[in-house]
């Protein structure tokens, strides 16, 4: 009986607070939009072209083109996120990937990896850096990671205790160049 009453009260509360013509809020976690210095690090769609949008969310977005990552970032550099919409659309400075006159383009965060996402998902860190034979720690410099060893002869338990201190710096670092030894 109590459950029944609770269900009725919840239903009534829902009806009183929600209007039928109101669109559902996108998501409570707009992390990609709230993150500072967020950058697009690379594609998450393999070799598939990235669909890009042009326009303004307030006035209307429209599909611009679909291009490979190399067109969006010719030097394979991380791209700064200059705009964000509903936590899932990221605006980049590139305004020429789809030709002239499109303005800054938008890309769905489903298809790209962002630095903010990596920070929020520490379990993925191990896949994003590696230990070089020089015994120095290296990784993409825009990552702010606690690198863990992935070589077969090294187990996770044998990671150096001060690995965090050896992690490359994040924000002001130059673009990614895997394989080079970062400054200690």
């Amino acid at each position: 009986m109590k459950r029944w009453l609770l269900a009725v009260l919840l239903g009534a509360a829902t009806l009183c607070t929600a209007r039928a013509d109101e669109p559902v809020q996108a998501t409570a976690r707009d992390d990609a939009c709230l993150s500072l210095n967020n950058r697009i690090l690379g594609p998450r769609s393999g070799d598939r072209p990235l669909p890009l949008l042009a326009g303004d969310p307030a006035r209307g977005l429209h599909p611009a083109c679909a291009v490979p990552w190399s067109t969006l970032s010719p030097a394979n550099k991380p791209l700064a996120v200059v705009g964000c919409f509903r936590g899932s659309l990221l605006q980049v400075e590139n305004d020429s990937a789809c030709g002239r006159g499109t303005g800054p383009l938008w890309v769905n965060s489903r298809w790209v990896m962002t630095s903010a996402e990596l920070v929020q998902q520490p379990q993925k860190r191990v896949a994003m850096c590696q230990q070089l034979e020089t015994n120095a720690w290296a990784g993409t410099r825009d990552f702010n990671l606690d690198c863990q060893p992935r070589k077969k002869e090294l187990s996770a338990d044998s990671a150096p205790a001060d690995s965090a201190a050896k992690t490359p710096a994040a924000d002001s670092a130059p673009p990614a160049n895997p394989g080079t030894t970062p400054p200690k």
């Binding site: 976690r29 769609s45 669909p51 936590g87 659309l89």
Partner: protein, 560 residues
């Protein structure tokens, strides 16, 4: 009827004439059974056929021999049919792009561009884009559709009639090279009309095409699943022509439904997608026939998950699971909006958004290699398919008659081995007679009232009654009686096994080769298991009487 010569010569009829006579009597009995099987007063036959179909798919819809869908039905590899995936747009997905219901054309253009990344085999847009839209939005949609077509991804668009796409051509859109973009060149118009059975409004049938009553077969707009399936074949036009040929405007093929949900849907479904109901529970009167589950049988990707990784972060670091699901799959994009009314009543999965109707139809066409099951009333020549039923019933009737003849030899005058013996009746009657008549009748009525009210008691009561009667028979019946009865029961079991063998073969031929749905299967079983023939053997007695009169008439030289 036959054997007249033997009678007139004073000799007993030979074996051949006896066989012919038995065969004719069986045919008479079978035709009566066929008539009652299809007696559709107040739609009773339709209801029983639907129930038979739902029952079969509810219990065996996941078996590869019945519904060979997906990779599980092709364990040896071979040509695994492409996957069918529903992509569901809802309010949440629209909000991610700042849109709201009804989904604007600009949203569809954006969303199709996102679907292009998945490299599907084809895309159905189950939305009627018949409302006026800004020219720029229409041109965006046509541009994306053109790009998809260029990439070898056909885009199917729902229409209500053939000229629904004309207003889009009026927008005067052009591609980057300045060439005109025509809707008819970038979209494939398909019908999304539905068929439901009367009285229960369940979508068990799928139309081949949508056409006017006076139009010739094949001249209408092909249904979405039919067109999508045929376009994946080597000769699409011939495939459509084959499926729509000789069909009436209201014809359709039957949809096999799997009772289990697709495992992919477990990531968002609040209920289990795996059915684990035991047959024992069903026997104990659980509400299990047909079973229902809200987990859809087709893999479903929510548009919100595609538009925002935060909606579903578990699709792989590099979207591996997403690409595994959708790569070279048929994507059917539909809507699930509060109050839109785009819902279909299904036999096993309660109410589902309408796009599942087309998805299941496409899965049926893929599972049955373009040879879906079609009811007898939509087949030509219709008489031949009903004749097949008669043939099956004829064999069953022959087995029944054979058993009856043996039972008569063992216990003349008795029809069923399950009847109480005279000794058992003689023992029971005085026992009950100790009670005043009003008392035992009222007690019996109360007992039956309780059994009718509390269904869980029914099975227990039946078991106790059978055990009690067997005990009484064993205690009071003479040993000869028990021995004859045991033989009668053995004959019954043998006849039942033979009948089941006939039914299995009939089902296999009818389902596999004649493409008949399981609407008659329950009827076959009920004839055999519940002694339907017993109720109609009076026609046999009448036939024998007529036969004797005919023989006597011929023996007297035709005199009256």
């Amino acid at each position: 009827m036959s054997g007249t010569a033997a009678k007139t010569s004073g000799k007993p009829p030979d074996v051949q004439s006896r066989i012919v006579r038995a065969a004719l009597h069986s045919l008479l009995l079978a035709s009566v059974a066929l008539f009652f099987l299809n007696l559709n007063v107040l739609g009773t036959a339709s209801v029983s056929k639907r129930f038979s179909q739902d029952l079969v798919y509810a219990w065996f819809g996941d078996e590869a021999w019945l519904y060979p869908r997906g990779a599980a039905a092709h364990p040896g590899g071979g040509s695994i049919p492409p996957r069918v995936v529903v992509v569901m747009i809802d309010e949440r997905a629209l909000a991610l792009r700042g849109a709201r219901w009804p989904a604007p054309v600009s949203f569809h253009a954006q969303f199709l561009a996102e679907l292009e990344v998945l490299r599907p085999r084809g895309i159905l847009l189950d939305f009627l884009l018949i409302d006026p839209a800004p020219q720029a939005d229409t041109c965006d949609l046509l541009s994306v559709a053109s790009r998809l077509r260029h990439d070898g991804i056909p885009l199917y668009l729902a229409v209500t009639k053939a000229d629904d796409l004309a207003p889009m051509d009026g927008a005067g859109c052009r591609d980057a090279a300045g060439a005109a973009l025509r809707a008819s060149e970038v979209f494939t118009p398909v019908s999304v009309a539905r068929q439901v059975d009367g009285s229960d409004f369940v979508g068990r049938r799928y139309p081949f095409e949508q056409r006017a009553d006076d139009a010739a077969p094949g001249m209408g707009v092909a249904s979405a699943a039919v067109r999508m399936y045929c376009d994946s074949q080597r000769a699409p036009a011939a495939c459509v022509a084959r499926l729509t040929a000789d069909q009436t405007p209201d014809a359709g093929f039957e949809l096999a439904w799997s009772p289990e949900g697709d495992p992919f849907n477990q990531r968002w479904s609040h209920t289990s997608c795996v059915e684990n109901l035991s047959p024992l529970q069903a026997i104990l009167n659980e509400p299990a026939l047909p079973r229902e589950t809200p987990c859809p049988p087709v893999a479903t990707l929510f548009a919100g998950a595609l538009l925002s990784p935060e909606e579903d972060p578990a699709l792989g670091t590099n979207n591996e699971d997403l690409f595994k699901l959708a790569d070279r799959a048929f994507l059917l994009v539909g809507g699930n909006f509060r109050g839109s009314g785009d819902l279909i009543t299904t036999p096993l999965h309660t109410l589902l958004p309408g796009v599942y109707y087309h998805a299941v139809a496409l899965e049926n066409l893929l599972a049955f290699d373009g040879q879906p099951k079609v009811r007898k009333e939509f087949r030509t020549p219709k008489l031949a398919f009903y004749g097949y039923d008669l043939l099956v019933l004829w064999l069953l009737a022959a087995i029944f008659q054979w058993r009856q003849r043996w039972v008569q030899r063992l216990r003349p005058g008795e029809q069923s081995p399950f009847q109480l013996s005279d000794a058992a009746r003689g023992w029971l009657a005085p026992l009950i007679a100790r009670w005043p008549t009003p008392a035992w009748i009222v007690a019996t009525a109360v007992l039956l009232l309780l059994l009718a009210t509390f269904k869980r008691l029914q099975l227990l009561a039946v078991a106790l009654t059978i055990a009690a009667l067997i005990t009484i028979e064993l205690r009071v019946a003479p040993s000869t009686e028990i021995r004859n009865r045991s033989r009668g029961l053995l004959l019954y079991v043998i006849a039942m096994a033979a009948s089941l063998a006939v039914i299995v073969v009939a089902i296999w031929v009818g389902y596999r080769w004649l493409r008949l749905p399981p609407g008659d299967w329950l009827g076959y079983f009920s004839f055999v298991a519940f002694g339907f023939f017993v109720a109609h053997t009076a026609i046999l007695e009448f036939g024998r009487r007529v036969d004797e009169l005919n023989v006597a008439r011929r023996g007297s030289g035709g005199a009256q």
